[in-house]
Symmetry: C2
Subunit: 588 residues, 2 copies
Amino acid sequence: MYRSHNCGELRIEDVNKEVTLAGWVQRVKDRGVLTWVVIRDRYGITQLLFDEERSPKELLEQSKTLGREFVVQVKGTVIERESKTKNMETGDIEILVSELRVLNEAQTPPFTIEDETDGGEELRMQYRYLDIRRNPVKNNLMFRHSVAMEVRKYLSEKEFIEVETPYLIKSTPEGARDFVVPSRMNEGQFYALPQSPQTFKQLLMVGGMDKYFQIVKCFRDEDLRADRQPEFTQIDCEMAFVDQEDILNVFEGLTRHLLKEVKGVEIDAFPRITFDEAMKRYGNDKPDIRFGMEFGELNAVAQHKDFNVFNSAELVVGIAVPGGASYTRKEIDKLIDWVKRPQVGALGMVYVKCNEDGSYKSSVDKFYDQEDLAKWVEVTGAKAGDLICVLSGETNKVRAQLSALRMELAERLGLRNPEEFAPLWVVDFPLLEWDEDTERYHAMHHPFTSPKPEQIPLLATDPGNVKANAYDLVLNGNEIGGGSIRIHDKKIQAMMFDYLGFTPEEAKAQFGFLMDAFQYGAPPHGGIAFGFDRLVAILGGQETIRDFIAFPKNNSGRDVMIDAPANIDEMQLKELNIELLVSESAES
Amino acid sequence: MYRSHNCGELRIEDVNKEVTLAGWVQRVKDRGVLTWVVIRDRYGITQLLFDEERSPKELLEQSKTLGREFVVQVKGTVIERESKTKNMETGDIEILVSELRVLNEAQTPPFTIEDETDGGEELRMQYRYLDIRRNPVKNNLMFRHSVAMEVRKYLSEKEFIEVETPYLIKSTPEGARDFVVPSRMNEGQFYALPQSPQTFKQLLMVGGMDKYFQIVKCFRDEDLRADRQPEFTQIDCEMAFVDQEDILNVFEGLTRHLLKEVKGVEIDAFPRITFDEAMKRYGNDKPDIRFGMEFGELNAVAQHKDFNVFNSAELVVGIAVPGGASYTRKEIDKLIDWVKRPQVGALGMVYVKCNEDGSYKSSVDKFYDQEDLAKWVEVTGAKAGDLICVLSGETNKVRAQLSALRMELAERLGLRNPEEFAPLWVVDFPLLEWDEDTERYHAMHHPFTSPKPEQIPLLATDPGNVKANAYDLVLNGNEIGGGSIRIHDKKIQAMMFDYLGFTPEEAKAQFGFLMDAFQYGAPPHGGIAFGFDRLVAILGGQETIRDFIAFPKNNSGRDVMIDAPANIDEMQLKELNIELLVSESAES
């Protein structure tokens, strides 16, 4: 036993107890006749006292040799502090040390182990094991654990079974982003790491497992956007003998449980909106509804005058920015510049100031009178003091642009409070999406997603408008989960493959063994998968998933701490029956 | 909602309820004027009744068209059965069906979906999704889930944090059995899949995480023995500021908790024996102590006569087989043949029958008189009616041979009751083991395992006898967990590398970044890892891990259901900057 107590638990009631503590030296305050040393472990910090009058001389001397991050074990007596502090939970006491043992020395760490550190991202990643000593990172990892525990507890109580599906699976012809794994024992053949356990969870439903879940690592070898990881964690779920309503209820229950247990937030029934409505009202299929600024479509009230920009636009749409009427000309110009940045891509922005006196001042006063603008105000719900921002153009593009502006303004206005939680379901996603490159429809979710049964006839006449039994769970403007009811009927599946342009042979080659399985009695089933890294981050009040992963990779997919990936030796390659391709630049 | 109840829950109290059930057709019994159909889901089976008098004619006709494994939904009334059965939990009732809907048809499955199936191993693996419908497999998977839940519950309550460590890590020069993963983004470089999270869990201790666990997949690309899998699951654990005693206590607590919660078995303090004692008493470092037949070393009482086989042997050792005196000459000859099989490798076996009348009859009566044999009886603890089996030879070999015989006889005698649980700790493993090939010592556990501090001086004079702070948890003759206290002191670590024949440069190349981490204040730490597949199998009263894995691989590392590993196309190889090595046989 290296300790009788941890560094976070001693209180005023413990005064006079003989205790043994162990931990890392946080700081040493040398006052000559006495030394204070603060030590830290996972549970907190405790102050040690070495005192000329009450400590042996050697001990006082030894205390002065301690460096930051030394690992020490001390015995001593809990005493009441002369100057108490509320800054630490053990702030009422300190330990008058009678024995000090250095368990390990430490080099000076490359950055300070404090809540606010002087270390940059790259340095902290390289020394992640030191970064983890810092409260923010440590607390995130502990928080992640508690969320995972609550997920398991909730689903297990609902009779879900966690089943481990394999990691060494098979690459599919369309699995261009599969990580593959050469097999030593099966020469020239490869396993693939799963992008998701989709196939296996459907097989478990065929197998009668009924309610399945798994918190599971998934892998995708793709160019990484700012906040993606080549390996990521999903809460993967599937149920049999259910329709969409059953699934929404169960996983709304799960999300509500998490909000309550880990955040203390109680939320009633989650709102549900259709994909079409989400696009219309927020320009986005994952709207942040913590704040308003809903879209007002202005075609009817803005396309009757000589303003050709609007008249030629497919969509004219605006939002009312609370308090925006007070923006200066310069501020508004900056806003216009912002929407014109290539990342947003608007060609310009029209605005209307709603003055406190009830009058309006717009950038298009030449074309629209006060009466016209009053209609804009009505449609966008603007109040006195607001600024109406209006964009126009091709529907999909202008919605995306205005959504970006809405989010940016909400951020600036402090409307995106990370400790406020606004979940909603987006339902009725389109079944298909048009791909410009291949000039054909692709499955928006995946080819097993069920169309709305009543819309199946529409597939022949208006495929782009067929809706799927597919749904996303959105939290604070982030998609945290998504899923669908699967097709379990062979005939409908065959029809779907046909619409997606697969010949029966192609369908068999790509999805053969799942199709085979479906011939032996597939139950109606459906499921959902949550992005666990993101869910935890958002519940933790942050948006960067990397801060909630113990050993994350950087944007090049590298682990800079262990320096992976790395070269492997020729011998090993040979055993695997592969060799490196000589790159063209090396050849020339 | 596809069902109001599941197929396992209706009881006599539910009579007259209108219910909706869904499931698979288990069997159809057509009696002309009525049909009984038994349907099955995860929760049980329920009998449906279609009756000429009480059912619409079409419904009765339709019921006769149902085939095995059809997926159906029925509505009907719960009625009391005329002939009740205790064979099913719903045996008091049946459902008089008013509506029948076939949700999916099914081809006749390739084997019967019954507890005892007619399908062979290979066929069942190929159609694993059907195999999972069978109770024995389904129950194993559900049992596995409950064990995992209890593990997490127990450790979480003890303040352990489950931290996910990365799957895409780095191959080490000694990682010959690493699976590797080519990186598309980092040309010519490879990740490796972890054989265990050993390094990361030690880094988490350096990071102050204090108490870590993880139920985690590990990977090893090695020739598979009968019951190994290329991917397997560990309960991986590590603690800081602990000594061996702390770890044994915590994980004895975990094991006791599991035995109690999932088996209802209460066990007091686990026995502990040293590695040396285990070898001496059982010839095995994972002794099955559910039964006796302990080894009696006979050198002192058998090497004083003219029997040269014994006189020239390093070890003469025997066991007393309960009731074995009644074996016929033929049976004993068969036993001798058994120990002489190449898998066991004994050159012969001496035996002594302990007759009920107190006399002895041995195969070496020429050399030993009754008084001599009486001493053998004393040493082996044989009773009247027992058979003493004696082997001799080189100590390590003869112990292994006699251990094999002991286990075989226990199996035959029915002493290995799978529902009896006898855990024990084996402690004080040797630190080093001599490797005949390289003619040097290797770390028995791994190079970070701490020697017993008081034995460190022995490293210089008698390294083979230095014991480690390493321990195994053994259950019913299987190692279910093993671990060690790690070295956290740089000086001792350097010394160990030296003894293991690493130059400082080699040590740095292989273990560099862990060594680096240790310079920033490594706490004393240690841990343990449990083989989760095996643990679950043994708790489940079985020894084959494959029966407790949803989608296992065969002995060639193949998943015969999805047919993986498989070839991948040239395009994909090219993107990964690798090509297949043309095999030598193909070249010639």
